[in-house]
Symmetry: C2
Subunit: 204 residues, 2 copies
DNA sequence: ATATTTATGTTGACGGCGTCAATTTTACTG
DNA sequence: CAGTAAAATTGACGCCGTCAACATAAATAT
């Protein structure tokens, strides 16, 4: 009857694929990107070092799956933040999303790195591609709501917004910002300039 | 007489430390971050795999040195770009530096990654720290020239500018921008909003 | 000049990694 | 109840970074 997650273990393990993903997320949370290892994922899942092969052809496929989950989780948090924005205007929603974006990245630094850093491997799986694309669409729509969807440069303006929040997130995660400059206040101040910057450009 | 680089080889190798750094840069240029290996650096320098130990206690120290060179090179290019700016105003210089920043990162993606990505290792050497700090100071001064050095939020505004260019650079390097959005024109358009954004905030 | 000390490199080993091939165990299916 | 296919184990391979022991060559001291 039951196939994947229930208490019954239909196969040898019963849900190794899912267990590997969860183990990987735990490892990232506990020890950061450098402690992530395929063999350690297997250990935590209680299987031998070669067992993952049946569910993920290479370690990059597992990383891609974890990255996809990260995009999905972030998308949920951004949507919630937009709905909970103090001002329900398009601007208010965009600013709330921007703040939530940086908050997600700094709260889950290793997962965020797994989402964005190609280490090289372009083993982008369909799931990863879809999740990343959905997150991009979410951002693009929020920008379009601010500047008007008919604007021919909506994509370019979305890229601007994306670069700003991703830049802050990356710099904070890598510790490359002088102390005191990665705070919510500083970021909120920078985000405040975003609507004007988005609107003021590209109409030329 | 001659000690370090000349044709004479006073020691066993004569300049292994420098040769390792250069080999590392070559590897990054040719094969990207994932092909960088301490043993491969040693191979290219023509020494055994353990020889680097005498010059760099760990591979992270070598990475830090290469990262430091990257910061120094970038700083030179930014200064040259500012001096060659079409408009010699503070704004013109800042915009030229921003464009040069993204250009450097995309032209040397692996070196840029080595400069910024901590892989974890906080083996920051004095040289690395000094070079990174100098680059930050350069940016801060350019921002101060635009908005006025007496502004109490110069650092925070510099962080804003830093995040924007670093965000673009990172997204492009990691291939996370939809095709066509990493072009010079799009970036120039975003940079154009920077002076107004920097000035318009934080005076409150 | 010779001896000693120090710096530099080599060799070989260690454990950990990702991947693969061969094999065994378990579940599904006709 | 077969027979097949899926899932997992074992053991090996070649890499990697690091270390300890040893060898060599340069600098220094006597």
């Amino acid at each position: 009857m039951d196939r994947a997650p229930p208490n019954k273990k239909p196969y040898h393990h019963g849900g190794l694929r899912e267990a590997l993903v969860q183990a990987g997320i735990d490892i990232l949370t506990e020890g950061g990107l450098s402690s992530f290892t395929l063999r350690e994922c297997a250990r935590r899942a209680g299987v031998s070092h070669a067992a993952p092969k049946n569910h993920f052809p290479t370690v990059e496929h597992l990383k891609a799956e974890i990255g996809a989950r990260g995009f999905e989780q972030m998308q949920r948090e951004l949507a919630a933040a937009a709905d909970a924005a103090p001002s329900p205007s398009a601007e208010g929603r965009l600013l709330a999303m921007g703040a939530a974006y940086v908050r997600f990245a700094t709260a889950n630094p290793a997962a965020y790195q797994m989402m964005f850093r190609d280490q090289d491997s372009f083993e982008r799986t369909p799931h990863y591609s879809a999740a990343a694309e959905a997150a991009w669409t979410q951002l693009e729509e929020a920008v379009a709501a601010v500047i008007g969807a008919e604007r021919p440069d909506v994509e370019a303006r979305a890229a601007h917004a994306f670069a700003l929040v991703h830049g802050f997130a990356s710099l904070i995660i890598d510790g490359r910002l002088p102390p005191g400059l990665g705070t919510d206040a500083v970021i909120a101040q920078s985000l405040a300039s975003l609507p004007a910057a988005l609107r003021g450009l590209g109409t030329a």
